[in-house]
């Protein structure tokens, strides 16, 4: 579904990623872990097409086509979803208006009919149960005055309504208490399906206790330095990033 080859890039002139290789199959859950500044969020933003980030080398194929040639909204309509680490507030734009506009934009792009108001409400209400969200939040301005937990649940709700093929969760666990974390994880787990892939970006192993990944990758200095299964996350939890860093630097000296 997604294949990243030798990806180099960063913010403006500052190189952050120095050759990422990663392949994600439909139906799998990948986790990318790494210390602060390792390039986790940069990868997420480049995949989503943030205009502030530049790609200097490498290529990304998504469903066989060149992802980097697509605009932000084209990627979204092709089923790529980014759950933001810091969801934005948009005054005066109601949550439900955002959901409806986004969903219908995608349906139009896929040649489907737009949902009418009734169908749409039914869909949204069925998805709200997934994230245990209060109805009232639908009619409030997007994320305005939401608590940290509400913002993250709102991201998962948008994901549930838009039904992406590839969902990237950028530090969705940050700033959540344990109950909110469980709710968010349950929501994600219910959305797992053979057609859908997830890329979880996280600093901590905690989230992975609730959403079991098939693959775990450790990002360091803009490269994936180790890949493995869930046990890698447990190992990391035990020894910390410093052990990995030491090992990596050691290895590099000999390279």
């Amino acid at each position: 579904m997604l294949s990243i080859e030798n990806l180099h890039g960063g913010i403006e002139d500052k190189g952050i990623l120095h050759g990422i290789d990663l392949a994600i199959e439909a139906g799998t859950v990948h986790a990318i872990m790494g210390p602060n500044g390792s390039g986790k969020s940069t990868l997420a933003h480049i995949l989503a097409g943030h205009p502030g980030y530049t790609v200097t080398a490498g290529r990304i194929r998504y469903d066989g086509s060149d992802l980097l040639a697509l605009s932000v909204e084209e990627r979204a309509r092709a089923g790529l979803f980014l759950a933001f680490q810091y969801p934005l507030e948009i005054p005066g734009v109601s949550n439900i208006n955002l959901l409806k506009t986004a969903l219908n934009a995608r349906r139009r792009a896929q040649g489907e009919e737009e949902l009418d108001a009734l169908e749409f409400i039914e869909l949204v209400e069925s998805r709200m149960a997934l994230v245990n969200m209060e109805q009232e939040l639908l009619y409030r301005s997007v994320n305005e005055g939401f608590s940290g937990g509400e913002k993250k649940r709102n991201e998962v709700l948008q994901m549930a309504v838009l039904e992406p093929r590839l969902a990237i969760l950028d530090e969705t666990d940050s700033g959540l208490d344990i109950d909110a974390l469980k709710t968010v994880a349950e929501g994600v787990n219910q959305l797992r399906s053979p057609e859908r892939a997830f890329l979880l970006i996280t600093h901590y192993q905690r989230l992975l206790e609730y959403i079991r990944p098939d693959h775990v990758h450790i990002l360091h200095g803009g490269r994936i330095v180790r890949s493995g299964d869930y046990t890698l996350a447990i190992e990391l939890e035990k020894h910390g990033y410093s052990a990995i860093e030491a090992e990596f630097q050691h290895g590099q000296h000999h390279a």
């Binding site: 097409g49 502030g52 605009s71 909204e73 979204a76 005066g92 734009v93 955002l98 506009t101």
Partner: protein, 482 residues
């Protein structure tokens, strides 16, 4: 950002969709202004002598006045002798008695503008007075309203049929010598709408005037007078469009509202005069005086305006809160794109006790547009416990435009309280990215954010107008980003 660049020029060229000209024979006075022209206008309209004298007095006063230059707008001087002060579609001698007699070309014009004059049509709940250049061409639902004692007719008819009301109220809110443009209007005003709602009557439908400038080299000087008698209620809508022309045309209207004890007037405007092209050629100079007088206790006047058109807008719909416990409101969205300039706001003059006013102003600047809020809140010594709350927000789209805020707060009563807040923001790249990541196009995302910004004003508009206003805003912004 790249996506929006393509096709920007094609977007701009289709921006103003009301720019057509109706090919209709007109009876137009030659350009120029003097006492004879004023007498001619007055006699063409068959006015009684008091009206002619009133006009002449205003004209003589106008001659002593200077065109105001204090506002934040810039334009070359206006040659008042190059303007034609009267133009009416040729349709026999008198105004048609029914729609069947109205020139089909005119009916077609209003249909094209989305304002069908056939009463049973789309806007079934709205009574319309259609003003074409200098004259009112049709007023719908008159009979139905008359059953309730409501007078809704053209100004010319009111002068003939209700001279007592005209003599009593005309100029009582905006005196003929009030300001340069109001004086000019008082001298040469051609037509407009008149509304009288009798005591205790709640007007069952929206009343509406649709103003259309068609002829070239003419000015439009309409006059609207609305009186809500004791405990009456009326909601009034005003819309305006004009053809695309390379020349600037002057629109200098006067609107007077009078609310007696317990009465309420809600006045909404969607102003979409031709804004000129992207190089600033052509467009309407919209220099308008609108003022409401809360003459009675517990009366209320509410102005809502959506200003997207005109190359220059200069207007301050105001409230004189004379009655105790009276309420004034001003809700405004003003958008300037390309080379448009707007200097708009309000005046809230608190005279009575326990008077309240609210001002919500949203200014949007794009392209090279200049947008200024100018508002006066004045609380006189008599205004015990008066309250005002003002919020002015500006949104900048691009770094070539300007957003300005000039409040004037004058308080002479220690028990009164005035609060003013203003903010300035731009559409952030991060907000755009967020919406685009959800699959929404950049144009739609901008439009969504702008509409969100204006929400607290749009909710004050009657339903049909609110939808219109949102669409208008999206169209007016096309080509603004990228």
């Amino acid at each position: 950002m790249n996506a929006s660049k393509q096709g920007v020029s094609s977007l701009i060229s289709r921006t103003y969709k009301h720019g057509f000209v109706t090919p209709i024979e007109s009876d137009t006075l030659p350009p120029g202004l003097n006492e004879d022209v004023i007498r001619t206008i007055s006699s063409k309209k068959g006015e009684p002598d008091f009206m002619t004298q009133w006009r002449l007095q205003a004209y003589r006063h106008w001659l002593t006045m200077k065109e105001p230059r204090w506002s934040h707008v810039h334009y070359p001087g206006i040659d008042y002798q190059a303007i034609s002060y009267f133009s009416s579609p040729k349709a026999g001698k008198a105004r048609p008695k029914s729609l069947d007699e109205v020139d089909p070309a005119l009916l077609e014009t209003y249909n094209k503008l989305g304002i069908p004059l056939e009463e049973q049509e789309l806007l079934a709940g709205v009574a319309v007075d259609a003003v074409f250049d200098s004259v009112s061409v049709a007023t719908t639902f008159k009979e139905k309203l008359a059953e309730l004692g409501i007078i809704f007719c053209s100004f010319s008819e009111a002068v003939k049929n209700h001279p007592d009301l005209i003599q009593r109220y005309l100029g009582s809110v905006v005196p003929p010598g009030d300001n340069f443009f109001a004086s000019l209007n008082s001298a040469v005003f051609s037509d407009g709408s008149f509304v009288y709602v009798p005591p205790g009557v709640h007007c069952p439908m929206e009343l509406s005037t649709y103003f259309r400038i068609n002829a070239s080299s003419t000015g439009q000087f309409e006059r609207t007078l609305i009186i809500a008698d004791k405990n009456a209620y009326v909601s009034y809508l005003e819309g305006c469009t004009a053809p695309m022309r390379d020349e600037n045309q002057l629109h200098a209207a006067v609107v007077e509202l009078i609310a007696l004890d317990g009465a309420e007037i809600k006045y909404s405007t969607v102003q979409n005069w031709y804004p000129g092209d992207e190089l600033g050629r052509g467009g309407i100079y919209n220099f308008v005086t609108k003022r409401g007088d809360c003459r009675g206790n517990r009366s209320k006047i509410s102005w809502t305006q959506v200003e997207t058109g005109s190359v220059i807008t200069w207007k301050y719909p105001s409230c004189i809160l004379r009655g105790d416990h009276s309420v004034g409101e001003f809700y405004s969205v003003a958008l300037t794109n390309n080379l448009q300039q707007a200097d708009t706001g309000t005046k809230m003059i608190h005279i009575g006790k326990e008077t309240r006013s609210t001002i919500i102003s949203k200014g949007i600047s794009a392209g090279h547009g200049q947008n200024a809020y100018r508002g006066l809140v004045k609380m006189l010594g008599s205004a015990d416990n008066a309250r005002n709350y003002t919020q002015c927000d500006s949104l900048l789209i691009g770094d070539r435009c300007g957003a300005h805020t000039f409040p004037y707060i004058e308080v002479k009563n220690a028990s009164a309280r005035a609060e003013h807040e203003a903010t300035t923001s731009k559409i952030s790249d991060e907000q755009l990215f967020y919406l685009r990541q959800r699959g929404i196009s950049e144009e739609d995302a901008v439009s969504m954010i702008v509409n969100g910004f204006c929400k607290s004003v749009f909710k004050e508009l009657p339903m049909e107008f609110a939808v219109e206003a949102q669409k208008l805003l999206a169209v007016s912004l096309e080509g603004a980003i990228g």
